[in-house]
């Protein structure tokens, strides 16, 4: 168990990186608290797997240091770091039984056979695979194989961190849910630090206490699922989390007020940020209300999608597309409507970064 600190981390797959574009990881400074459940969320190619492989030691960073508590492990190989990693595709040793698979990491470290037995039995119990212990691992279904991969990570006592690299990719949808709650349960039982890499927001938000959102090799925001949903620090987070994502509308800022297509939009509070730069208003579809009579911004409905729990209305106002999520009755395509933004949830972004503060916030 340890706190993991990444300090001034940069990584490039090129031998002689010239500018920022050559870096897969641009500059990472981050601390993972001991025992936390973290998710690393971002689109494919954003550098999250690179970051994971650096923590596990499969990659050595071009620059910067990794500390486990106060120990510098930057140059240590994976076996010396006492970490565990579960990969996208289940890795099992085909010729061994489930028991031998689970025992493998312990036996490689020369543990006594009775310790091995105790640990394997305990882990098998936890993963509910006790009945399969004498089965050959190659005959298991993909979800059970993935369970065994996880088990091999958890079987060692006091692993510093267990990392999951999109572990549910090959699992059937109806089993994903089960494995995900299993993971959450495991985290509560073993209390090891866990880092879960995914590009799926549902997986990230259900698993983690803290979500780290990455884009283009940089960390954009770290926060609880609620933070990410309610106050995205960057328009990218707004887009990426939520379905559909945050509406981001071009606007002009004059005298501390925002104007969208000439109409004033009431912000949550005072606008800050750089004086110039591209200004945008961000509002989640959940906080846009649609009416035919009330005030707001005039728009016409382009289409309405009924997705079961609610309806997603796509409207056009001042040549911008605005999504609204409605429960119950919704207008029809082609209708003229008025859109109203909930003031406390209307944010201002400058050059992509959050620039408004809530009313009464005196930072």
């Amino acid at each position: 168990m340890a706190q993991i600190t990444l300090s001034n981390l940069r990584h490039s797959y090129r031998p002689d990186p010239a500018d920022d574009d050559d870096y897969a990881l641009k500059k990472i400074d981050l601390t993972w608290d001991d025992g936390g459940a973290y998710a690393l969320l971002g689109p494919s190619g954003c550098g999250k797997s690179t970051l994971l492989n650096i923590i596990s030691g499969l990659l050595v960073p071009s620059e910067g240091k990794i500390l486990f508590d106060d120990r510098d492990v930057t140059a240590l190989p994976p076996a010396k770091r006492n970490i565990a990693q579960v990969f996208q595709f289940p890795v099992i040793y085909d010729t061994m039984t489930v028991y031998d698979n689970l025992a493998f990491p312990l036996r490689n470290r020369g543990r006594d056979e009775d310790i091995v037995k105790r640990r394997v039995t305990a882990i098998a119990e936890m993963l509910e695979v006790t009945g399969m212990l004498s089965t050959r691992a190659s005959n298991l279904s993909p979800d059970n194989k993935q369970k065994i991969s996880m088990g091999r990570g958890l079987v060692r006592e006091d692993v510093n961190v267990v990392m999951f690299d999109e572990p549910l990719t090959v699992i059937d949808p109806h089993l994903k849910w089960k494995l995900r709650s299993k993971l959450k349960e495991l985290h509560q039982r073993v209390r090891a630090t866990m880092i879960y890499v995914t590009h799926d927001q549902t997986e990230a938000l259900t698993f983690a206490d803290q979500v780290v959102v990455m884009q283009d090799g940089e960390i954009v925001q770290i926060g609880t699922p609620v933070d990410l949903f309610e106050r995205p620090a960057h328009t990218f987070v707004g887009h990426f989390i939520g379905s559909p994502g945050m509406n981001v509308l071009p606007c002009e800022v004059k005298g501390g007020a925002a104007f969208f297509g000439g109409e004033q939009v009431a912000l949550e509070g005072p606008a800050g940020g750089a004086a110039d730069g591209k200004a945008e208003v961000g509002i989640r579809p959940e906080f846009v209300s649609v009416s035919t009579t009330g005030g707001g911004i005039a728009a016409h409905v382009r289409k309405v999608a009924d997705i079961g729990r609610h309806k997603v209305v796509e409207a056009i106002a001042h040549d911008s597309r605005i999504h609204a999520i409605l429960e119950g009755d919704a207008p029809n395509a082609g209708d003229a409507v008025m859109l109203d933004f909930k003031r406390s949830q209307t944010r201002l972004y400058k050059d992509g970064w959050l620039a408004s503060r809530p009313e009464g916030d005196v930072r």
Partner: protein
């Protein structure tokens, strides 16, 4: 009543004809010869299983069969581990991959009798590069035309040179198909290099190695051209393998009956060993 549709014959008949003309009919003529005696003029006399008895009890056949098994055993015991070792040593990516692959494939592209002729000239004591070097430079007596041991060493090395590449290429194909995550997981699990080979690489290569061993068994067990061109079965009968002996009986002595019986026995042994091997290798695959 449902009308029977006979159209399936349209699809099956060509295959049946093909198999009949290239396998069944020629084989039945061999069966025909194996139970009869002929003195030419298309006159045949029924002989029963006499030829089979004669072949199976003849010392000459036992010796040729023994030599054949020894040869095949040596080939497999050298080529399979060597092929796997070379495949493991080959780069998995980068500039040298195509170079290695093409170099490996080259020996296999050379026709059998050319290989025999090449090695014949290469090893001749007075004019061959290797033969001259061994005898006149190093002073080690080496003459595959006179010494049975030298002859054996030469035909084995020749086959290793010619066919190890096949094992290499198949094993290599198995190796490159192993996802990187396996190696990474093994590294995290603290597995030694030997454990990685034993529990990841070898199991993943099992299917292709089964095929490789099967192909090398059948080819080496039926080998004819290369040793025939190199040593002609000599010196004496020391390198007279089964197929060389068979051709001597059939075409040299024109004993068609015994030759036919021997062909069938030969065929049965090849089939039996291949079947046994394949069954043993795959019997655990579906067991839980």
């Amino acid at each position: 009543m449902k009308k029977l549709n006979q159209r399936a014959w349209l699809f099956v008949t060509p295959v049946l004809l093909l198999v009949a003309f290239n396998a069944l009919i020629p084989m039945m003529t061999v069966v025909n010869y194996s139970v009869q005696e002929t003195f030419g003029d298309n006159l045949f006399f029924w002989q029963g299983i006499d030829w089979f008895e004669q072949v199976l009890t003849s010392e000459r056949f036992h010796k040729a069969l023994g030599r054949q098994f020894l040869f095949t055993f040596l080939i497999l015991i050298i080529e399979v581990p060597l092929g796997v070792a070379i495949a493991l040593a080959m780069p998995r990516q980068g500039f040298w991959v195509p170079f290695c692959l093409v170099t490996m494939a080259l020996p296999m592209l050379i026709p059998w009798n050319v290989v025999g002729a090449m090695w014949n000239i290469f090893t001749l004591p007075d004019i061959g590069l290797l033969g001259y070097f061994m005898n006149h430079t190093l002073g080690i007596p080496y003459d595959m035309t006179q010494n049975p041991f030298a002859a054996w060493v030469t035909i084995v090395i020749m086959d290793v040179w010619h066919w190890t590449s096949l094992v290499v290429l198949l094993a290599y194909a198995g190796l490159v198909s192993i996802p990187n995550a396996y190696y990474q997981a093994a590294e995290i699990d603290g597995a030694s290099g030997w454990a990685v080979f034993r529990f990841i690489q070898l199991p993943k290569m099992k299917t292709v190695l089964t095929i490789a061993i099967l192909l090398r068994f059948m080819d080496s067990f039926n080998i004819y051209t290369e040793p025939f061109v190199l040593t002609g079965g000599g010196p004496g009968n020391s390198t007279t393998l089964l197929s060389i002996d068979l051709v001597k009986i059939a075409l040299g002595q024109f004993d068609l009956g015994p030759a036919a019986a021997m062909s069938l026995i030969y065929f049965a042994i090849t089939l039996l060993v291949s079947w046994l091997f394949y069954t043993l290798m795959t019997m655990n695959d579906n067991k839980s």
